[in-house]
């Protein structure tokens, strides 16, 4: 039994599906739970398709206590993995579809009342959907979302396309209105979601996220026609299944360039859902459209240059005046920079001159995708240290003695060096700078 390498996968599967995929791809030993289209081509027939076909591994045996009985070594190992994952990420993945439109399709069939997740699948789904909506709007402030329910054989519109997270949250907050009944219909609800996105401009993404608890679907026609329509209209379908993998679900995701995953437990469910929060890389979209329409990769027909205005916000204390959108007497509001009319809320299109008005922080929220901080290199030994004795960012003193049993990718002396400004940082700051700040304190880039 190949204990070490296999357990590696089974641990990381929960926390780092991303890293798990790349690792399993490298070994040519993929697993079915999280696989994208790009992996499919490389899949070999001898591959294990399901989780339960994998070798039984004793993951707890790989957790080693050190001499003092603490689990510090394991924690270090986790951090190394995070670091390695970051190094594995492509540096040039800057083309992301940032103006997103998503329809959240929630299964409201009777199978959602199953109690394999506590208290029910339905309650867990609603709770995670709320968290997902908040996080999604936080990271995609220019995005819009609609909610459709699959209940009693039809698709049911729960919330219209909206850019306001509060609208979406309100629509899925009342569980009594969403009580699950009947059979789900994938075709009906996908058609409804697709039709509601037909009018959207080409530069925005069209995505459908399905949370699917049932193992059946009751459709009026051929669902493969719907699938072909989705491919044609570049609708990307991602599915998080709660029960098991279905062939049609896998096909829907693979052919449209989405992600498919089967949740193994509550934590995994949440991870699968939150994997869909960051904007998808544009390359994936180009590839999936290349399969359908055969467009070139260098020119992107979906891209466009948009004129946007950045408004001035008026305070609560300013003299009240009529707003252009509702004709109400208000103090606060935003001024269109082109026609100087007053608007209640951003982002919006100016009612007078039609200029798209966004607040610039909305745009700036996505900039860290464009200019990521270069990964810091671990400093191996004391040989080439001319700099200070404490972390450049937080002034925590560095350890003076090298620690034992360091894993690959970790620094024995706890120093991580920026390749640009050659200053050293502690491991906490390294993680913090790359995950949160996205700006090197040394060189300011």
């Amino acid at each position: 039994m190949n204990a070490v390498s296999d357990s590696d996968i089974s641990i990381s599967d929960y926390e780092e599906t991303e890293a798990g995929v790349s690792r399993s791809k490298a070994k040519g030993k993929g697993k079915a739970t999280d696989k994208r289209k790009k992996d499919k081509a490389k899949r070999k027939p001898k591959d294990q398709a399901y989780t339960w076909e994998a070798n039984f591994t004793r993951s707890w045996e790989t957790v080693q206590e050190d001499e003092g009985g603490s689990l510090q070594g394991v924690m270090n190992d986790w951090m190394t993995r995070g670091r390695r994952k970051r190094l594995l990420e492509p540096q040039n993945a800057i083309r992301r579809t940032i103006i997103r439109h998503m329809v959240l399709l929630i299964d409201l069939s009777s199978s959602m009342m199953d109690r394999d997740m506590r208290p029910t699948r339905f309650a867990v789904t609603l709770q995670y959907a709320r968290e997902f909506v908040l996080e999604w709007f936080d990271q995609n402030p220019l995005g819009q979302m609609a909610v459709v329910g699959m209940r009693a054989g039809v698709g049911e519109r729960i919330c219209d396309m909206s850019g306001n997270p509060q609208d979406v949250l309100k629509s899925i907050s009342d569980r009594h209105k969403l009580e699950p009944t009947g059979e789900p219909s994938l075709q009906n609800s996908i058609e409804m979601a697709r039709n509601s996105m037909n009018h959207l401009p080409t530069h925005s993404s069209r995505e459908i996220l399905i949370i699917f608890g049932s193992l059946t679907t009751c459709d009026p026609g051929n669902i493969h026609d719907t699938l072909d329509e989705c491919v044609k209209h570049r609708v990307r379908i991602s599915i998080v299944a709660l029960a098991a993998e279905m062939k049609i679900c896998r096909d829907l995701c693979d052919k449209t360039g989405g992600q498919f995953g089967v949740a193994m437990n509550e934590g995994h469910f949440k991870d699968l859902l939150f994997d869909l929060v960051p904007p998808p890389a544009q390359r994936a979209l180009a590839r999936s459209s290349g399969a359908g329409a055969g467009s070139g990769s260098s020119t992107n027909p979906a891209a466009d240059l948009m004129m946007m205005g950045f408004p001035t916000r008026l305070p609560d204390t300013s003299p009240p005046s009529l707003c252009a959108c509702h004709s109400e007497l208000k103090s606060k509001g935003f001024l269109c920079p082109r026609c100087l009319s007053k608007i209640c809320d951003v982002p919006t299109d100016c009612d007078i001159c039609g200029l798209m008005i966004v607040s610039s922080p909305h745009l700036a929220r996505s900039y860290h995708h464009l200019f990521p901080v270069k990964p810091y290199a671990p400093v191996a030994s004391f040989d080439n240290i001319a700099t200070s004795a404490s972390c450049h960012a937080c002034s925590r003193p560095f350890p003076t003695t090298p620690s034992q049993n360091v894993a690959d990718g970790m620094s024995a002396i706890g120093r991580y060096r920026c390749p640009d400004c050659n200053t050293d940082f502690c491991s906490d700051c390294d993680v913090f700078v790359h995950d949160v700040i996205h700006c090197c304190p040394g060189c300011g880039k």
Binding site: L305, G309, S318, A364, C439
Partner: protein, 366 residues
């Protein structure tokens, strides 16, 4: 932790302080600034025993931690019967470090031209707060096992700036603001000298802090104690001055101008001040049709005062643009900046024109 944490970022750009000491009325030189600042810092320490403090200096081209209450230096200052030891400690450490770094600055004449490293100081103070949070969690991990990770009670950052906006650092500043939001750090900003800064206004607005543009520079201590001494949690009850307008303009990626109407790439959301055929960030090519359409739309735009005054090297505009713009001179005059807008009340207009004038003068002189 009961006490509140305060990080102060001090802009120590020598040339700007020189201008400030000459500026009439109400000149403020570095010496009197420090006597007022140290009084404020002492007040923060004195108001509660658990209060912690860190001071970061933004020198031209580098940023330095001047003082932190977490790692105190071993050397104790000479005892002075007339001073409270913690106050003495803060004062002497800060002044000693500043003098030291200013000395190294004068030895290296090249560095003097660099803009002050406000971004570096800001990110460092965020890292420092993150470190405090981690330390605090580690120390209380046994007591509160299984609970959510705790955060410090109202950590905040006070930025005392004298420099104008450094538009080259737009993205790092915004990234720092968002990480401050994530850490629940309040950013207060006080612009002591120079033009109003768009970035600090946005920083204070987005993190729930207050931004104050100092008009009476000689009353700095008054402003500091009244507005910035109380921690954010009790600012609801005592009415703290808030900003009247927030400028949501962005800096473009191509010429680092601050623009109010920009051209945005739909793929990566890069902002440009003029229509470009290819996005410089993600190398997306835009359709020629939309380029023509936008060029036509742009020519009907009044040129904003910001792009005119702040950057004399504005890229040459197409010939027809100039023609159209000069055809509507009245339009561009009425929109001379966000202050003179119809909805802001008539009293503001005069003042904002004056500040615009000041901006213009400064922009040319530098």
């Amino acid at each position: 932790m009961d006490g509140s944490h305060l990080s102060v970022v001090v802009d120590l750009c020598p040339s700007q302080w020189h201008f400030s000491s000459l500026h009439q009325p109400y000149p403020l030189n570095l010496g009197s600034f420090f006597s007022q600042l140290l009084a404020f810092l002492n007040a923060h320490i004195a108001s509660r025993h658990e209060n912690s403090l860190a001071v970061f200096g933004a020198f031209p081209g580098k940023s330095v931690l001047l003082y932190s209450s977490a790692d105190l230096s071993s050397e104790t200052p000479s005892n002075d019967a007339n001073s409270f030891p913690p106050f003495k400690m803060v004062d002497s450490t800060i002044m000693h470090n500043i003098v030291q770094h200013l000395d190294t600055l004068t030895q290296d004449p090249d560095e003097e031209e660099a803009p002050s490293a406000l971004v570096g100081a800001l990110t460092k103070s965020l890292c420092y707060i993150n470190r405090l949070t981690l330390d605090f969690n580690a120390s209380t991990a046994n007591a509160t096992e299984g609970l959510e990770p705790l955060t410090l009670s109202d950590p905040r950052i006070l930025i005392l700036s004298v420099s104008p906006d450094q538009t080259a650092f737009y993205i790092p500043v915004m990234n720092s603001i968002f990480s401050a939001q994530k850490l629940k750090v309040t950013i207060d900003a006080c612009q002591i000298y120079g033009p109003e800064t768009v970035f600090l206004q946005q920083a204070a607005h987005l993190t729930g802090g207050s931004y104050i543009y100092l008009e009476r520079r000689d009353a700095l201590l008054q402003y500091l104690t009244m507005a910035f001494l109380p921690p954010p949690s009790i600012r609801q009850t005592i009415s703290v001055p808030t900003q009247d307008k927030i400028d949501f303009r962005a800096a473009c990626f191509c010429h680092k101008n601050i623009v109010d109407v920009g051209f945005v790439c739909s793929v990566c959301l890069s902002v440009f001040c003029q229509p470009v055929p290819v996005c410089s960030t993600c190398r997306t090519k835009f359709p020629i049709k939309s380029l023509q359409r936008l060029n036509a739309a742009r020519s009907s735009l009044p040129l904003s005062s910001a792009s005119q005054s702040r950057n004399p090297s504005t890229p040459s505009t197409p010939q027809k643009t100039n023609g159209r713009a000069s055809a509507t001179p009245l339009r561009s005059e009425t929109s001379l900046g966000p202050g003179g807008l119809p909805h802001t009340g008539s009293t503001n207009i005069k003042g904002s024109f004056q500040t615009n004038g000041a901006k213009n003068g400064l922009g040319l002189s530098r």
